[in-house]
């Protein structure tokens, strides 16, 4: 297997995630798109680990770190969305303009 096939698939998934973040209006949907991007990064890390065959499996260890941090990020992100929903009765990112001048 070529390494490029994995890299290009990951690039495709990452670009889809960027599209989702830019185009979605619901905050939960934006978080879903962020998960897609993080997952693309994981694919890259594992593919490079397979290419380089490092002694300590560094790529796999790092993707485990990425998965863990992503789990923490989802927890905090959803808590923030929930709090904003409670205060503003909306989960639409266009309504979150409190800090706009």
């Amino acid at each position: 297997m070529l390494v490029n096939q994995f890299l290009i698939l990951a690039a495709l998934l990452f670009s889809l995630g960027v599209y989702g973040v830019l185009v979605r209006r619901n905050a939960v949907m934006v978080l879903l798109a962020i998960e897609l991007m993080l997952n693309a990064v994981n694919i890259n890390l594992i593919a490079f680990e397979s290419l380089l065959q490092t002694e300590l499996a560094v790529g796999q260890v790092f993707s485990i770190f990425v998965i863990t941090v992503a789990a923490a990020e989802v927890g905090i992100g959803l808590a923030i969305v929930l709090m904003i929903f409670r205060n503003r009765r909306s989960a639409n990112v266009d309504d979150f303009n409190l800090m706009r001048l």
């Binding site: 297997m1 070529l2 390494v3 490029n4 096939q5 890299l7 290009i8 698939l9 690039a11 998934l13 990452f14 670009s15 889809l16 995630g17 960027v18 599209y19 989702g20 830019l22 185009v23 979605r24 209006r25 619901n26 905050a27 939960v28 949907m29 978080l31 879903l32 998960e35 897609l36 997952n39 994981n42 694919i43 594992i46 593919a47 680990e49 397979s50 290419l51 065959q53 300590l56 560094v58 796999q60 260890v61 993707s63 485990i64 770190f65 998965i67 863990t68 992503a70 789990a71 923490a72 989802v74 927890g75 905090i76 959803l78 808590a79 923030i80 969305v81 709090m83 929903f85 989960a91």
Partner: protein, 183 residues
């Protein structure tokens, strides 16, 4: 390596299948007009990513992905969708009106990323396909060379746990707090 050679390897068929499933699910995650369906398509994208990890002989990471993402994170997302009462069913207003700029940005990003990887890695093949990574090795790396980041990440998880509870719980007014204490 030309296309005929590429197709002649059965492992590439599995890759093509997983890549198609992954790309289709990814597209549906960002375009689906139904929020629950988008979350469930994320399960598909993550499951095919786990399949890719198995293909690259990263069993431990694949199973971690299934356990944490499909087992826990998706459930959390479904909770979030239900609690914020996101319009279940079809909703036209889920996306912005102007999609073209976002589509252009992501298409350019994809072009740049794939151009860079084609330029840098043409002809390089992944190694170690078929021999599993020793999970013990990952454990030793985590508690040996990477013990400091490991501890930092565990502390981060604890902080996220406490922070999530603190942010999401309902604040009681002082009178309500008093009423609760007397009960």
């Amino acid at each position: 390596m030309n296309l005929g050679e590429w197709i002649s390897q059965p492992v590439n068929w599995v890759f093509a299948l997983l890549a198609l499933a992954s790309a289709y699910s990814g597209v549906r995650v960002v375009t689906s007009q139904n929020v629950i369906r988008a979350a469930l398509f994320l399960v598909g994208a993550l499951a095919s990513a786990a399949g890719l990890f198995l293909l690259l002989s990263a069993e431990f990471v694949a199973l971690t992905l299934v356990l944490i993402y499909i087992g826990a994170v998706i459930v959390l997302f479904l909770f979030g969708i239900m609690i914020t009462r996101a319009p279940l069913g079809r909703d036209i207003d889920l996306d912005h009106k102007r999609r073209a700029p976002a589509a252009i940005v992501s298409a350019v990003l994809f072009a740049v990323l794939s151009w860079a990887s084609i330029r840098a890695f043409t002809g390089r093949e992944v190694g170690g396909v078929g021999d599993a990574t020793d999970t013990g090795l990952i454990g030793e790396a985590l508690l040996g060379r990477f013990v400091v980041p490991f501890e930092v990440v565990s502390f981060l998880l604890l902080a996220a746990l406490i922070g999530g509870i603190t942010i999401a719980r309902k604040d009681l007014s002082p009178a309500e707090e008093e009423a609760r204490e007397t009960v």
